[in-house]
């Protein structure tokens, strides 16, 4: 079943379209990777879905209903949780407070329910448990990424949008992050994953799209993308490295 559909989506900030009519489908329970070089429009795609880009056209459907033009806060309440580029953990709040605020899109939670859910996140990210009272600005990059993902999961999203979770992390931490992404899918959450690290992304994804300057260049299964010589040469440089 199609959960999230982008239909000839165009987006621009000022003059000049950054997205030039892209079509992307994400089925329920899938991990879909969105790949492409720096500046291709990957983050803009996620930001458009979350209602953060001022000018968008085409359509965005969640469970068959258009969400185009809705306010960001409303879109999150409909079940799209966005873990943006750069993690954006609140620097002056503690790890636990950051995670708790992730449930702001849902109604009032009882203290017991909140404690239970935060506890579950600490099981998923054991390192965070001992850091629960540390302020955001004191954390390392890997720790910030885990807080950001844990916070994003508190929304109980139908779709989780992850923007470059591996960026700037040491290889060992990157592996840990991707292990957790696989775990998230096993729990039934649908993921749209933006990555420059194509090798890692395609290793967990069910399907992938490659963007080039605001258009979808190719789409398909990881193996198909893997073997497309054009893609390989130009966009999956990570393959050689990885």
């Amino acid at each position: 079943m199609k959960l999230l559909e982008l239909r000839t989506l165009t987006a621009r900030y000022g003059a000049g379209d950054v997205l030039k009519g892209i079509d992307i489908d994400v089925d329920e329970g899938e991990i879909v990777a969105l790949l492409g070089a720096n500046g291709a429009g990957k983050s803009t795609t996620l930001r458009a879905i979350s209602g953060l880009v001022p000018h968008v056209a085409g359509d965005i459907l969640l469970g068959g209903k258009s969400i185009l033009g809705q306010k960001t806060e409303a879109i999150v309440r409909l079940g799209i949780s966005h873990v943006p580029e750069g993690r954006r953990v609140f620097p002056g709040l503690t790890v636990r407070e950051n995670i708790v605020l992730g449930a702001s899109n849902r109604g009032r939670l009882s203290r017991a329910a909140m404690d239970r859910e935060v506890g579950e996140k600490f099981e998923l990210f054991p390192d965070l448990h001992r850091l629960r009272d540390a302020l955001g600005w004191t954390l390392s990059g890997g720790q910030l990424q885990m807080v950001a993902v844990a916070r994003g999961l508190m929304a109980q999203p139908r779709v989780l949008l992850l923007d470059e979770p591996s960026l700037g992390l040491a290889p060992l931490i990157v592996q840990q992050v991707f292990k957790i992404i696989a775990q998230i899918r096993e729990r039934g959450t649908t993921v749209l994953l933006v990555e420059q690290n194509a090798h890692m992304a395609l290793s967990v994804a069910d399907r992938g799209y490659v963007l080039e300057t605001g258009r979808v260049l190719v789409a398909g299964s990881p193996t198909a993308l893997w073997e497309d010589p054009q893609v390989r040469a130009a966009y999956l440089g990570g393959l050689a490295a990885g």
């Binding site: 999150v76 943006p84 954006r88 620097p91 605020l101 702001s104």
Partner: protein, 291 residues
């Protein structure tokens, strides 16, 4: 020593007023990145609302204050709607200019309604004060100090101990991220404006019996509060409180020991010293640098 303690008491009293106004100022900087040049006029409008409720309508004093504080919260929302909302996507400067415009507008409206001669408000208590050892504690200064302390505690509890407080803090640290979590950012900003106006208004009501109620009373208070902000560390909440208190004490001591006519100059002398020697203030912000 007796005189020193007496001056310390008076200085802390007046400093508490600066601190309350400075606090409202800082909260708006943090939550909405708004440098509100109408903060002092909040105090002026608050004091005039108390004049209307108590002097004109003859309501009991505490009830008058309560009504005036509630009206000020609503006024803060209106003020946000007029100065901030239409310009919120245009960056800081247009909003600063519109708050300056609003402050001039408010002063002139009150001038038309009440004229240039100051109004007189009695203090909260009939008794002039109490003698504690060598210090005579004027009842109004005492009410200012007690109210300011209670407000600071209340604010600490709201901001640090409640979910609403955490959402307000999140909004002040990263508005876009807050909206991505489903926090109603616009509502958080309006709450901050309402709170900030109520705080400024209350400061005006508390200081009114000491200063008289006049159209121009807000301007000087706001300048002092702004100086308190720089001294305490721009954007810092504890800095606003300590900066305000330090300024009140410094100018009271300066006026008494050095020269009365230069009373207001001490505040700005202190501001200049800080800008030259320690521009980050008492509490230089780590968080805003990191964010």
């Amino acid at each position: 020593m007796a005189i020193f303690l007496q001056l310390l008491f008076t200085g802390l009293g007046i400093g508490a007023i600066y601190a309350l106004v400075a606090l409202g100022f800082v909260l708006l900087i943090r939550a909405a990145s708004v440098v509100n040049f109408g903060q002092g006029q909040f105090s002026m409008v608050g004091a005039y609302l108390l004049v209307v409720c108590f002097n004109v309508l003859g309501l009991p004093y505490l009830l008058s204050m309560l009504i005036a504080v509630i009206l000020m919260a609503g006024f803060g929302v209106l003020f946000a709607g007029a100065t901030y909302w239409p310009l919120r996507h245009r960056g800081g400067l247009p909003v600063i200019i519109s708050t300056i415009g609003a402050s001039i507008f408010l002063e002139n409206i009150v001038l038309v309604l009440y004229g240039p001669s100051p109004e007189v408000l009695p203090g909260l208590f009939d008794s002039p004060g109490i003698q504690v050892g060598p210090v005579f504690m004027d009842s109004q200064y005492l009410s200012i100090l007690v109210s300011a302390t209670l407000l600071v505690i209340l604010q600490y509890v709201i901001f640090e101990k409640t979910l609403l407080g955490k959402k307000l803090q999140a909004t002040s640290q990263d508005k876009e991220m807050a909206s991505l979590l489903g926090i109603p950012v616009a509502m958080m900003i309006l709450i901050t404006f309402a709170y900030s106006a109520a705080l400024g208004g209350l400061a005006g009501m508390l200081v009114a019996p000491v200063l008289f109620v006049s159209v121009g009373m807000g301007g000087l208070i706001a300048l002092k509060a702004f100086a308190a902000n720089i001294i305490g560390g721009y954007g810092s909440i504890p800095g606003a409180i300590l900066g305000g208190l330090a300024l009140g004490v410094a100018e009271t001591m300066g006026a008494s020991y050095i020269s009365v006519p230069y009373k207001d100059a001490f505040a700005f002398f202190m501001l200049l010293m800080f800008l030259m020697v320690r521009p980050q203030g008492l509490f230089g912000e780590k968080i805003s640098e990191k964010a």
